[in-house]
Structures are given as C-alpha cells and as structure tokens.
C-alpha cells in the first residue's frame, strides 16, 4: 500500500517553529530530510531532555516534532543548495535576506530546479511593516488574538486582575506549520499538472490571527469584542473538572436528555417542574439548572461524570492533562498511539500517531526521531542517484476521474 507522498523528497531547513510541518508530511509518506548544522538543529538543544540530561539526541521537544524524519549534517551552504536541487519540496524558516545570503532565495533555487516547491514559514511573512519584527510563540498568540480571549474572568468590581493567557504547546507555530503542510500539498497537486514549482509564503501571524472562531464576526456584527473567561465547568467528586456545555440552542432534545439523566440520578429537584420545559423559563432560572448539575457532579468522579453527560446526549468532556489522554479507550481502539523502538536506548517510546484514520493510505509512523547526522551518507547516496521528477506525486488533473497515473514513473531511481 502506498502513502500519498511516497517518494516525495522534502528538505527541511527550519528552526523549531516549523518542524511540525515536516512531521505531518512524513506521516503522509514523504521522505523528510532534516538538514542540520554540525551542532544540530536548535530544537535539539531545547528541553525537556531524556532523564533531564541535555544532549542533541536527548531532547524530547525535538523528538515530538521530528519523529519520522531523517537527518543530514551539511558541510556548508553549497552543500545545502545541492541538496535542495535534489528535493521536491524545501521547507525553511529563513527571512528573505537570510535566504539570499545563503544562496537559498527562491529565484536561485528555481534556476537549478524549476519544479521545486519552496515553503517559507516566518513570523510575519515575506513583506509588510512588521516583516523584520521578532516573535516567539507567545508574541504571536498575543498579536493573533487568542490570548485576549483566554484566561480567567474579571475579579471584584469587574476588573481583570489576571493577565491574558497563552496555551502551552506553541499553538501559533503549530497552526502555521499545519497551514504550511496544506499549502505544500496544494502546490504538489498543481506541480503534477504544470511541472512548475513556486514559493509559498506562510505568515505565522496571519495563521494565528485566523484561528479565533467567531470573534471577528462578533465584532463585525455587533461592535463587541470577546472578553476572556473560562467555559462552565463542574467539579466532580474526585476534584476533576468537567467541561459541561449545555447547547440548549440546538433544540428541546438537549434539555430533555439532561432532565432524564438528572431524574434517573434523583437530583432533578425543581427541574422536574413542567415550567422548565420552556426555554425562556430555563434561561431565566439557569441557576436552578446549574444547581442540579452540581448535585450530580458531587456524586461521581470526573471520568464517570463525563460519560454520564455523554449518555444524555450532552457534549461534556472531562478536562485531562496531556498524559491522561493516553488512557482514552476510544483513541486506543482507533490505534492512535504508536510504539517506536529507540534501539540505542534499548527501549521503545509511545508517540501520538495518525491525525485521522485512512484505511486506503495509512499514516506512516515507522522511524523514530533521527540521531544527529544519522543519515548523512545514506541520503547523499540516494538523493544524488536521481533527480526529482517534475510531476510527482501525480499524473492528471485534480478533477480527472480515475486518472490512475503512477507518480513514481517519471522518477529515475
């Protein structure tokens, strides 16, 4: 069974901000080669480290975003340019001046390889008044609007006494990386038809700015802006929090399901009064609804409360820490977690796997993260043996039904 990007060569020349893009492309079957300086990519020096001992092959931050890739240590920029010319896709995090200084600007690369897809992921994009500004994920989460809407509600007197908050996990960078992967796939589909490469310009700021759901529309429609404050949560008997959404607006079945659950548990109280069948009455007496839910929460642990709510048709979810997700029976049944051997450590490590279930072209999750320079000789031998085939990975226009071309046919190997 082939993977969608089987045989597609991706050269990755990025700092930690865009490594998640390569991880996604590797999962789709691409041969993702990370080009690193002798001391290793910056992310190899970012913690946490295995057993808290620093070292280029021990960074768990590196592992998380580089699983599935190969690693080459480049001699110099000439070496890097040669590798680029043998690739189908280059993903980098260089600003225009940096790329030019290294001979990696898109015009220079296209002179050698016109079919090359070059994807530049930068904080603010290739141009604009902020193009040279510096950013880490925190700055991007601030400018993009997520932070303004995340955090605790106001304290006494309606004054916010805690700051806006950004999520852990570098979400602005991850969103930019994901959009970069989408754009690369689009560019490969186009190249299959035209043989043409192109430059993709991903602005992480724009990516961050477009992920706050309905906030822009609220402003456009009402002139109001969203202030921060958590969603309603119930505290279960074991102290765990459960996100307890009550989408009453979806129709009368929502409250009917909730009432049945509360009555079965003997905690419905006033809610059994037929007056509560009227949504206007419910809205006006929401405190009673919430009181009944709190009585229910006091009787169960968090995981049970979550399943009780779901049983009643409510979109409830227990708030889990990342490691608690590992025990989820549904994700386990879907084969989400993958064990990969790290032979040099004599152990295997569990990774998050496929982001979706594709039986016809399963997610590729076979290589543990590469040791620094582990594949330098191997990649040089393989990549110099044949030039990339313009037209990979496809034959035929996107809409052509059943145009079953073998994308590898054009590749000399």
């Amino acid at each position: 069974m082939t993977a969608p990007l089987d045989g597609v060569r991706v050269l990755e020349l990025t700092d930690e901000s865009a490594e998640y893009c390569g991880r996604l492309l590797a999962g789709l079957g691409a041969d993702v080669v990370k080009v690193e300086p002798a001391e290793g990519a910056p992310s190899r020096h970012i913690g946490p480290f295995l057993d808290d001992e620093p070292g280029p092959d021990r960074s768990l931050a590196f592992w998380a975003d580089n699983v599935g890739k190969r690693s080459v240590v480049a001699l110099d920029d000439t070496d890097v340019v040669a590798l680029c010319a043998a690739a189908d896709v280059v993903v980098h995090t260089l600003r225009p001046a940096q790329a030019a200084a290294r001979g990696l600007d898109v015009d220079a690369l296209h002179e050698r390889a016109p079919g090359l897809v070059v994807c530049a992921v930068t904080p603010f994009g290739q141009d604009g008044p902020w193009a040279d500004y510096l950013a880490d994920d925190l700055v991007l989460m601030a400018l993009g609007g997520s932070m303004a809407a995340c955090g605790y509600g106001p304290g006494a007197g309606g004054v916010y006494d805690t700051p806006p908050l950004a999520s852990h996990g570098d979400q602005a960078w991850r969103t930019a990386s994901t959009y970069a992967a989408i754009a690369v796939l689009g560019a490969l589909a186009w190249r299959a038809e035209s043989g043409q490469g192109q430059l993709i310009d991903v602005s992480a700021h724009e990516c961050s700015a477009s992920m706050t759901e309905w906030h822009l529309m609220t402003y456009l429609c009402s002139g109001g802006v969203h202030r921060r404050g958590p969603h309603p949560t119930l505290t279960a008997a074991d102290g765990r929090q459960v996100a307890a959404l009550n989408p009453d607006f979806l129709g009368p079945h929502v409250f009917a399901g909730m009432l049945r659950m509360l009555e079965d548990e003997g905690v419905a109280g006033e809610l059994s009064d037929p007056a509560f069948a009227d949504p206007v009455h419910r809205a006006g007496n929401y405190r009673e609804v919430w009181r009944a839910l709190k009585r229910l929460a006091a009787r169960h642990d968090g995981e049970t409360l979550y399943r009780l709510g779901q049983g009643a048709g409510l979109p409830w979810g227990v708030i889990r820490s990342p490691e608690e997700v590992l025990d989820d029976r549904h994700l386990r049944a879907r084969g989400h977690f993958v064990e990969l051997e790290h032979p040099e450590l004599g152990r295997s490590v569990t990774y998050c796997g496929a982001p979706f279930v594709a039986h016809g072209s399963p997610w590729v999750m076979e290589r543990r993260p590469p040791l620094l320079g582990e594949h330098t000789d191997e990649v040089r031998a393989q990549w110099s043996a044949g030039t990339p085939a313009a037209g990979t990975p496809a034959a035929g226009a996107p809409g052509r039904a059943g145009a079953a071309g073998d994308g590898d046919a054009g590749r000399a190997r």
Binding site: Y20, G47, P48, L60, G128, L134, L138, V139, L143, G145, Y152, T162, L165, S167, H168, G169, T178, Y179, I182, A183, L185, G186, A187, A209, T212, E213, W214, L216, M217, T218, Y219, L220, C221, H226, P230, Q241, V242, F249, Q310, V318, I319, R320, P322, E323, E324, L326, D328, R329, H330, A354, P355, F356, V357, A358, G360, G396, A397, P398, A404, G407
Partner: protein, 431 residues
C-alpha cells in the same frame, strides 16, 4: 489555482467540517454545499447577525436588536461568514424526498470528494452509506469529520470544540499555577480539526491520482489535537514529570526554552497588555536600554538568564512598572526597534483596525452576497506565487445565500433544464 477542476460535494455544518472545505475552496476547488431550508445550518441562524445593508459603520443598533430577537433570515448568521468563504456554492435538496435522494446520488457520481460533518451514521440513514457512494463513484474520496469519528467504541459521543479541547489536554494547558484550568474561550479545535480535514482531502486526492483508488478517511476532533501538546506527553512518560503537578500550567512562563522576562504586562487603557519575551542576554540588554536603564535592572540577580528566571516574579513586577504607563503598541514598536520580541495583546477589533501588518498583507477580503454588504472576510493565511489562493475561491464571491446556486448547479453538473428544476421545486424536492 492549485485545486482547479476538483469538485467537492460538501455536506458540512457548523465550523469543524466547513473549515476544511473553506481551505479547499480558497485553493480553487469547486465546493458545492448541500443544504436544507427546513434544517438550516445552525450558524446560519444563530447570533451574532450581520447588519442590514447600509447599517454597518453607522450604528450597530439594528443588528443588536436582531441579535436579541432571533434570526432575521438564514443568510445573516455571522459565524456562517467565518467558515464559508472560498467561493462555496449552496444548493438545497430535501434528502428525505425520494427524488431528492436520487439527485444527491447523481451529484455524488459527478464529484471527486464528498465531505461531511454529521454525526456518524447520518448519511447512511439518508440512504448514502459509504458502500452506496462507492458504487456511484468507485474512486470517491469520502472524508467524514465528526467529534469522535465513525470508528471506535465512543462514536456516539457528541463534541463541540471545548469538549474535544477538554478531553485532549488542550484546555489543561491554559492556566495559572494551582488554579483550575482557564482553557480556551473559543473552539480552537474546530479550526485544527478542519485543517486536518483539509489535509485528509488533499492527501486522498493525491493518493487517488497515483493509484486510481478512492477511500474513506475518517477525521475526528480528537486525534488532530494530541500532538499539539508537544513534549509534555513525552516528559510525563519518560521523565515521570506529569503535567498535572503543582505549579503547572505555568501561565505565560515557559521552561523550554527558558525566557525571562516573558509574559503579558499591563499597559495604559482598560485591560490592555503587551507581551515581552527575552531569551538571550542581548535581548535583555536591549530591553534595559529601551527602558532607560533603570536602577533596578542592575540588580545582580538579573545579570544572567538563570537569575532572571529564578527571580521572575520580582522581574515581572519591575517590567510592569515600566509598561504600566505606556501604550501597548508604543511599547511593542519601541522594543521591536531594538531587537526585543514584543507584541500587543490584540482583540478582533485591533486585528481589523489597528494591525498594519494584516492590512498590508491583504489578510481581509471584502466579500458579500445578495443579502449582505461586503464584509472583510478571511480565507487561508498564506500566499502562493504560481497559484495564488483567493478568499472568494475560483468564483471570487462571498459566502452563498441559502440555496442560491441550486438551479445553476443542477444545470451545470447534472445537465438539468430550467423547467426540470422548476418542476422539482414545485414538488418540494429542493427545500
């Protein structure tokens, strides 16, 4: 455009699924939304509502009234306009009418991709199980997107963005130490799930061209989220350092890589903040210079990054004493001018009206339709030199009014005449 010629039959609702087809539309795919007049997409009829033509800019009063009294029409729900750019078209078909189901089958046969975001089993109940669609179109790429997906023991579970965020660790990752998580106040995972839905569509299409084979790709809202916690999971498993521990999550402070000062600092105005983040000694020195080298900054405790991290509480208080009397954008521009990463905490109004970068990049595209004046809408946040994406899609138009393309699509795709369409309409098939 990159996906020109690709036809997607789009049964998505709400945000998650619609985000995926929006992206494909912006890349040039023809996206045909299949909708219903009797059961309109909830985001078409729920507030906030888009003001009447001519209202915007003068007063928001009428819109506010509409927002309080109920849906003025199926074309005024504001959130619909966030998730349905990309030049999507809209047709209305009653799937419960035998002739409606027959129409849908004909459309499936003419489509490259079927995308949907109903609860698992819904399309099958309509008479469109995956086996039937595959018979109609053997190489169909069928992408389903719903909370728990179509496979697994908990497929009956229902999610909204915050549900999936709770279950996958995302909610947990936002908060101050030793308080309950604050979480996200919006459905971040509707976006992320949609991004992975778009990747599923693209991967399915590319795979089909290489092999001739279609497939069903099942996207849930859970799996796209698990890798978003980065190294936290590995740290817990391998180093025995669970995220559920005292002091974590650590607000805006990050241990890896260490930075200090790093966080949001109060500025002038009502609840206005600026983020400053220094990872290096150079950035720290530049910050000290920009602040006018105050005496406190010479404290030996702040001389090294290790010291600054260790004494971050004191450091933050000092930095905030400087930002407090200043405008957030002035602080940002001043610090950026000397090489210190900094950014104003912006809300939606700021992004639209005060962000010169988004304006210069053409982040917003003014698009409307027959019922709504042009609004500054968003598409995909990247550029491509050879195949520029467009927020209006291949057709360069705004989000569709409900059913506005029914006649055109049935004519173009199925070759039906105006009379045939009119007859179906009389029979109630196109509702």
């Amino acid at each position: 455009m990159a996906l020109e010629g690709l036809r997607i039959l789009d049964f998505t609702r709400l945000g998650f699924g619609a985000q995926a087809t929006l992206i494909c539309g912006c890349l040039g795919a023809e996206v045909i939304r299949v909708e219903s007049t009797r059961f309109p997409d909830a985001i078409r009829v729920m507030p906030p509502f888009v003001p009447e033509p001519g209202e915007r800019g003068e007063a928001f009063g009428a819109a506010t009234l509409a927002n309080a009294t109920g849906a003025p029409s199926a074309n005024r729900g504001g959130i619909f306009y966030k998730y349905n750019t990309g030049g999507k078209r809209s047709i209305t078909v009653d799937a419960r009418h035998p002739k409606g189901l027959a129409l849908l089958k004909d459309l499936v046969a003419e489509s490259d991709v079927v995308a949907e975001s109903f609860a698992a089993g819904t399309l099958a109940r309509w008479g469109l199980p995956v086996e039937v669609m595959r018979e109609l179109r053997p190489d169909l790429v069928y992408v389903s997107m719903c909370g728990f997906g179509h496979e697994g023991p908990d497929t009956s579970h229902v999610t909204m963005g915050p549900t999936a965020q709770a279950l996958t660790g995302l909610t947990f990752m936002v908060g101050l130490p030793d308080r309950p998580p604050a979480g996200w106040s919006f459905s971040y995972l509707d976006h992320v799930g949609g991004y992975l839905g778009a990747i599923a569509i693209l991967a399915g299409v590319i795979h089909r061209r290489r092999t001739g084979e279609g497939q069903h790709i099942d996207v849930s809202q859970l799996e796209p989220a698990t890798a978003l916690s980065g190294a936290l999971l590995l740290d817990a498993m391998l180093n025995g350092r669970p995220s559920r521990r005292p002091g974590f999550p650590s607000g805006n402070r990050r241990a890896h890589p260490p930075a200090a000062p790093s966080g949001a600092y109060r500025c002038t105005g009502d609840d206005r903040w600026v983020v400053v983040s220094c990872r290096t000694d150079e950035q720290w020195s530049a910050l000290v210079g920009a602040m006018g080298a105050p005496a406190w900054a010479a404290d030996p405790r702040f001389a090294t990054l290790v010291g600054r991290v260790e004494h971050a509480d004191d450091l933050d208080a000092h930095v905030e004493s400087w930002t407090r009397g200043r405008d957030r954008y002035e602080v940002m521009d001043l610090l950026q001018s000397v090489g210190v990463p900094a950014g104003a905490v912006q809300d939606a109004a700021d992004r639209l009206e005060r962000d010169p970068q988004l304006a210069a990049r053409g982040h917003y595209t003014d698009l409307g339709n027959d019922e709504v004046d042009a609004l500054p809408l968003e598409g995909v946040p990247f550029r491509m030199t050879a195949t520029p994406p467009h927020t209006g899609g291949a057709l360069r138009r705004g989000p569709p009014c409900l059913g506005e393309d029914t006649e055109a699509v049935l004519g173009e795709v199925l070759g039906m005449s105006t009379d045939q369409v009119a007859a179906l309409r009389v029979e109630g098939v196109l509702s």
